[in-house]
């Protein structure tokens, strides 16, 4: 397939839109969907609350073709979406919710009836989250609803009426005026070229390859390019720091990165799978990872962020790497020259530095299935439970022999050093000991010696030290047989 240059296609307001960057004096490939919409005369319902994916006021829904040609709708923070990410998708805004007759959409009606808006500024974003929830079918529990809404801050209502509205209206059938036009929209989306895209405007280049091969070739040519998938981290360099990113390679359309392989021993998760989908894949057999993902950002972020991206950023407070290490996972790296696998434990080499060579791409994360006897628990400590970044985190793995002594133990911490780090002296001390409170209390002193945490905006060194120690005791408490 030949690469399409400087144009993207998507559906907006029920029409196929072809957007040309070449002809525009204002649009760049890193123009956000939020800013694009607000530049249009009839799409100012979408609001900017923070420009960093932390408030949800800019939430829009994207309709995408599912595997069976059906439409699937998800909520996204439009402040974190670059325009080319719309290619091949339907962009749905709050202006699209009313039926052509002018009648309110069921989620809008419920919100009015339940008194779910006060100042109204967060409301359009909330409507889009509820729209996606409504269209996902099923009858969500109160907790599911609260989870779906955790990415939408409201300062007026205290949320109760919004939860009530959602509970009242989401009853499974997803009936609305979108149903009638779905086949038509799906046909429009199918008509959009699947070819790779390359946009070059005023010193910026944005490549969106459609195959892994093309992507690796691009990386080979331009090893300094910034690789993104959901861009929930990189986008902030544009929206908060106003950096003109010179070259971006967006791998969000590469199908090879969305492959799941499971040979019964090792589960291989494509690096480009959205965390929302990763959660479904790991729910059963990797509950500690599932648990961590439950408190990873909020739904809008999980709908865009990927495992490859989160590990690739190598943040010392990244949520998933400690868990992947505890599962004994590995990172699969690929370049046009070949493929190699690096243990997750040795993947990060320094502050935001990794084993990935500039021409390589993270293509998968491999998780060996743990023995049913292994205990693996993950803990995240943050000021607020949802939509927050770790002050510290701990993921622990424990294997006990039949006599109750520790045959193997891994204590992996985030937020305690310049990178994800294991409490090596505590691990060493614990091996071969009985898993008892006295031993754990002794091990807590070793944890103190393993780390010299810093004080920062998220917490003091003292808090981190105490919490790091306590997490081990918590792990002990949760793993002892209290039968």
């Amino acid at each position: 397939m030949t690469t399409k240059t400087n144009t993207i296609s998507f559906v907006l307001d029920g029409r196929l839109v072809e957007l040309s960057f070449a002809g525009s004096s204002t649009l760049t490939p890193t123009t956000t969907v939020l800013n694009f919409l607000r530049s249009l005369p009839h799409h100012r319902g979408v609001k900017e609350g923070c420009a960093e994916g932390d408030c949800g006021a800019c939430t829009v829904a994207l309709g995408e073709l599912g595997e069976r040609g059906e439409m699937k709708y998800r909520a996204f923070d439009s402040c974190l979406l670059f325009l080319p990410m719309l290619h091949g998708k339907q962009l749905i805004t709050v202006e699209n919710l009313r039926a052509p007759s002018g009648e309110l959409h069921p989620v809008q009606r419920a919100m009015v009836d339940e008194h779910g808006s006060q100042c109204g500024f967060c409301t359009p974003g909330i409507m889009m989250t509820l729209f996606a929830l409504y269209k996902s079918g099923g009858k969500p529990s109160r907790m599911d609803i609260a989870d779906a809404l955790a990415g939408n801050l409201c300062r007026c209502t205290g949320y109760r009426p919004i939860l009530d509205a959602a509970e009242k209206v989401c009853h499974g059938d997803g009936q609305d005026h979108f149903v009638g036009t779905e086949a038509n929209i799906a046909a429009m989306l199918k008509s959009i070229s699947r070819a790779s895209i390359s946009v070059s405007t005023r010193g910026q280049r944005y490549d969106q390859p459609s195959t892994l091969e093309e992507c690796l070739a691009l990386l080979n040519e331009a090893p300094g390019a910034i690789v993104i998938n959901g861009a929930s981290d990189i986008a902030l360099r544009v929206t908060k720091k106003f950096e003109p990113l010179s070259h971006i390679i967006d791998c969000s359309r590469i199908k090879e990165l969305e492959v799941v392989r499971d040979d019964g021993k090792v589960l291989s998760i494509g690096a480009g799978i959205r965390l929302t989908d990763v959660m479904k894949i790991v729910r059963q057999d990797f509950p500690a990872l599932h648990g961590m993902l439950e408190v990873f950002g909020a739904q809008q972020i999980r709908n865009t962020a990927t495992l490859g991206g989160n590990i690739g950023t190598a943040s010392p407070i990244g949520d998933t790497l400690p868990v992947v290490i505890a599962y004994g996972g590995s990172i699969v790296l690929q370049s046009s020259k070949g493929k190699r696998t690096v243990s997750a434990d040795s993947f990060v080499t320094g502050y935001r530095k990794t084993e990935r060579r500039p021409e390589e791409l993270i293509t998968a994360i491999e998780l060996p299935r743990p023995s049913p006897k292994s205990h693996i628990h993950a803990y995240k400590i943050s000021k607020r439970r949802d939509l927050d970044i770790s002050t510290l985190s701990g993921t622990f793995r424990l294997d006990l022999d039949d006599a109750g002594t520790i045959s193997d133990v891994l204590l992996v911490y985030g937020g305690m050093a310049d990178r994800t780090r294991r409490a090596t002296s505590a691990e060493k001390f614990l091996k071969g000991q009985l898993w008892s409170r006295a031993v754990v209390e002794e091990a807590q002193r070793h944890i103190d010696n393993d780390f010299a945490p810093i004080s920062d905006v998220r917490g003091s060194a003292e808090f981190r030290r105490i919490a790091a120690r306590n997490l081990l005791l918590k792990f002990w408490f949760e793993t002892i047989d209290r039968g």
Binding site: C50, H115, C119, G120, L153, T157, R160, S460, L473
Partner: protein, 779 residues
């Protein structure tokens, strides 16, 4: 007619059709404005050069203090806030230059080209530092009753201590915004996100060097205010107006979230020291309180906020001997400002903290100590500033809430849970709020309205209050419909506009509906008199007997009729058409001033409040002893909204206020670094509650049979008071922490109780237990 009607803009909200300042379609001439602010907490400006910056393509103007045509001043009470810093900067975030350009990117490019040099000076960044250097903003104030010192000497029990309460960011979803459009000559039209359009108008006129008649400010709605736009909405308005004046083009400024958080003031941090005396039963005998607040770099409303704190140190309790000293301190931080509660939360948290300590000292249930000290119904009901607590609902509410929340049984269950759980502790607390309603700056208690009836029978209501989500316009619409006896769909509440109703007070102090509702009622009263006069003569012209008297004319169900002769009636719309034909004016103003209040600020004595609002909450929490994480298990609230004008809106205000209080008490933490830079400058690090942080079980009800004789239609304001119910959550957390030592040791505690504060407090208790210190030591 049901009172549970939705917010008047609800359909516009849910459809994204509601317009906020940034959504207004302006002409293609529109310029974007940007504020360049100080990177230093305190520094002298030595020199600057704008030459290169002005050459950036698209830049229309760059202004400094020298370019201000009027006064370089935007202090609302004391003239100590320059609009643009000229010689010295006094906080990080203080405006120095204004840029207008075609795009935001051009503004930012120009900003980078501005050359400025500073001589940094040593700043004062903490309350402790300000106090050590005696950097008072103004003279201390005192308020007293009886002789606290000698009463304390006689008390069997005396405890003393201090409490620190944190700053908080309003986090209105819509950041500060203003659009200024120059008209002909001196005219300037502003669309602002302001709780105080009249003051915005005054300050814009002042910086432009024009008169108020030349400036019109309109506020359709705000995307949240919470006090943050009572004075500080004026700033962006002044800045956008200066740029519009300089360029003769419309200029819009919408602060970027981080800039908004860095530049604007917060809730005042307080450091409170107290000494309290009480008897063996926990009856309060004497209290000495020293209130210290961090005003930031300028006065803003700091003295009024401190005054309200002084007036709320008692919360709901009789203190026979009381002495309050208040000091407002100046620091090199953005000037702190109004925030829902206005000094009340800090004072009430202090009093509730004190009661909690008394209970722990005496090994009694804090709820019992509270009840024992409530203001009496017939005696012991005068506050320390001399106002009688009338219509006291504390006792009734306590009885009802203790019962409906199953307080006693849950207290027992919690004790049992805590006895058998080492790593999780539960806590529960009941706290009341008694909140004085009226501006303590007495002259502000006034309102105006302008009601126009058109000859098609529709009505446009103008009043001085602003809509920030609280449902004021919805209630005003309901009040107008009821007074005029017409259906709601005939009535529109207009955007608040200074050319319709002049000289208005801010929409603040929880008075919005009370005063504006009355002004609207008075305007409608005037219209009805005129109409009744004309209609009765019209009926009489038909020579019917007996004659119709104007006093018998009724306005009900979209009809106007003679109550004595009900056959004589007209449809409302027909009648209005006739009124115009009969040359009757269908436009009237209304005015209201709150009666019965009087306050001697010097003596600290009088009746500053029209009435008191009451609320009460019981919150139960689960604390993870190993991580400091808090789960809010259940909250029961009983609130007094009088004969609510709109129960759905009032419950929304109660729930929202409570959750905002929970945020202030738990996860919302403001941190500055050692150079005075705000570290928590975005929602990445400043955490307001999400949908997952509300109580798992949340029960809110309104007190029944609670007519309020002192406000419109028997209602009572809701607005600010419920925020202070969040304090129940804070003290429930303290109760849970305290369970670590079986309530024998007073935990170290401050506000907000973040997971860090909780964990460090628990750690100290554990060390305390380990060293086996005396059980009654007070930390």
């Amino acid at each position: 007619m049901t009172k549970h009607i939705p917010h008047e803009s609800a359909e516009l909200h849910v459809s994204g059709e509601a317009l906020y300042v940034d959504d207004i379609s302006a002409s293609p001439d529109l310029l974007v404005g940007r504020v360049v602010y100080s990177p230093h907490a305190r520094a002298r400006i030595i020199s600057f050069d704008l030459t290169e910056a002005k050459q950036v393509p698209g830049v229309a103007a760059i202004l400094s203090a020298r370019d201000i045509p009027g006064h370089n001043q935007m202090g609302p009470v004391v003239k100590d806030e320059p609009c643009l810093a000229s010689e010295e900067v006094t906080f990080v975030g203080q405006a120095i230059f204004l840029i207008a350009a075609e795009t935001d990117a051009q503004c930012r490019a120009a900003e980078k080209k501005i050359k400025i040099s500073f001589e940094p000076l040593e700043p004062i960044l903490t309350l402790d530092d300000a106090m050590a250097r005696n950097n008072l903003l103004g003279p201390p104030r005192t308020m007293s009753r009886g002789d606290a010192d000698s009463a304390l000497q006689k008390s069997v029990h005396v405890i003393e201590g201090e409490l620190r309460t944190g700053a908080a960011e309003h986090w209105y979803l819509e950041t500060q915004s203003s659009l200024s459009i120059p008209g002909e000559g001196e005219e300037m039209m502003l669309y602002s996100s302001s709780q105080n359009p009249s003051e915005t108008q005054a300050l814009v006129a002042e910086v432009l060097g024009v008169q108020k008649k030349d400036v019109v400010v309109e506020v359709r709605r705000m995307g949240g205010g919470f006090g943050g736009k009572e004075t500080q909405g004026n700033h962006v308005a002044c800045w956008s107006a200066l740029l519009a004046h300089a360029t003769r083009r419309p200029v819009k400024i919408r602060l970027f979230r981080d800039d908004d958080m860095i530049m604007t003031g917060k809730r005042h941090r307080f450091l409170v020291r107290y000494k309290v005396g009480f008897d063996d039963n926990g009856k309060l005998e004497a209290l000495k309180v020293e209130l210290n607040s961090d005003a930031g770099a300028a006065t803003d409303l700091s003295f009024a906020i401190m005054e309200r704190a002084m007036l709320h140190c008692d919360n709901a309790y009789v203190v026979p001997h009381m002495h309050v000293v208040a000091r407002v301190w100046k620091t090199n931080l953005p000037s702190n400002t109004a925030f829902r509660g206005f000094g009340g939360p800090q004072a009430i948290a202090t009093m509730e903290h004190i009661i909690d300590r008394i209970a722990r000292t005496l090994h009694r249930d804090p709820a019992e100590i509270r009840q024992k000290n409530f203001y009496g119904l017939t005696n012991n009901n005068v506050t320390h500033y001399g106002q009688r607590v009338e219509e006291n609902r504390l006792h009734t509410m306590f009885e009802q809430l203790v019962k409906s929340s199953d307080y006693a049984e849950r207290r027992r269950a919690i004790r049992a849970f805590n006895a058998s759980n080492e790593f999780f502790k539960k806590g529960i607390a009941l706290t009341p709020v008694k909140f004085g309603i009226s501006f303590t700056t007495t002259f502000l208690n006034q309102a105006g309205a302008l009601v126009n009836i058109y000859n098609d029978g529709t009505v446009l209501v103008n009043h001085g209050g602003t809509e920030m989500g609280q449902g004021l316009h919805t209630k005003i619409r309901q009040i107008a419909a009821r007074e005029l006896g017409v259906s709601l769909d005939r009535i529109r509440v207009n955007a608040t506009n200074t050319s319709k109703v002049p000289n208005t007070s801010p929409t603040a102090a929880s008075t919005g509906t009370d005063v504006n509702g009355m002004a609207v009622r008075n305007a409608i009263g005037t219209l009805k008199e005129r109409i009744a006069e004309s209609i009765s003569s019209m009926f009489n012209e038909e020579k019917k007997s007996p004659t119709t008297n104007a006093v018998d004319i009724r306005f009900e169900r979209d009809e106007i009729f003679d109550s004595k002769h009900p056959a004589r009636r007209l449809a409302f719309a027909d009648a209005m058409r006739m009124m115009v034909m009969r040359q009757v004016s269908l436009s009237a103003t209304g005015y209201y001033r709150t009666p019965g209040i009087g306050w001697d600020k010097i003596k600290g004595h009088g009746t500053p409040f029209r009435y008191f609002a009451f609320g009460m909450a019981v919150s139960e929490v689960l604390v993870d002893v190993l991580t400091g994480a808090v789960t809010l298990l259940r909250t029961d609230i009983l609130h007094d909204a009088g004969d609510s004008v709109n129960p759905a809106i009032d419950i929304g205000q109660i729930e929202g206020g409570y959750i905002q209080g929970v945020g202030w008490c738990t996860t919302e933490e403001i941190k500055w670094d050692a150079a005075g830079n705000l570290m928590t400058h975005s929602p990445d690090t400043y955490k307001i509650p999400t949908s997952k942080d509300i109580p798992l079980d949340f029960r809110v009800s309104l007190l029944k049979n609670a007519t309020n004789p002192n406000a419109i239609h028997g209602s009572k304001t809701v607005a600010e008071p419920p925020l202070m119910l969040g304090i129940s959550t804070w003290l429930a957390i303290k109760d849970a922490i305290s369970a670590v030592t079986d309530h024998n040791v007073e935990p170290e505690f401050s506000l907000p109780a973040t997971n860090e504060v909780v964990l460090l407090s628990i750690e100290k208790l554990k060390c305390h237990t380990a060293t086996k210190a005396s059980p009654h030591t007070i930390a």
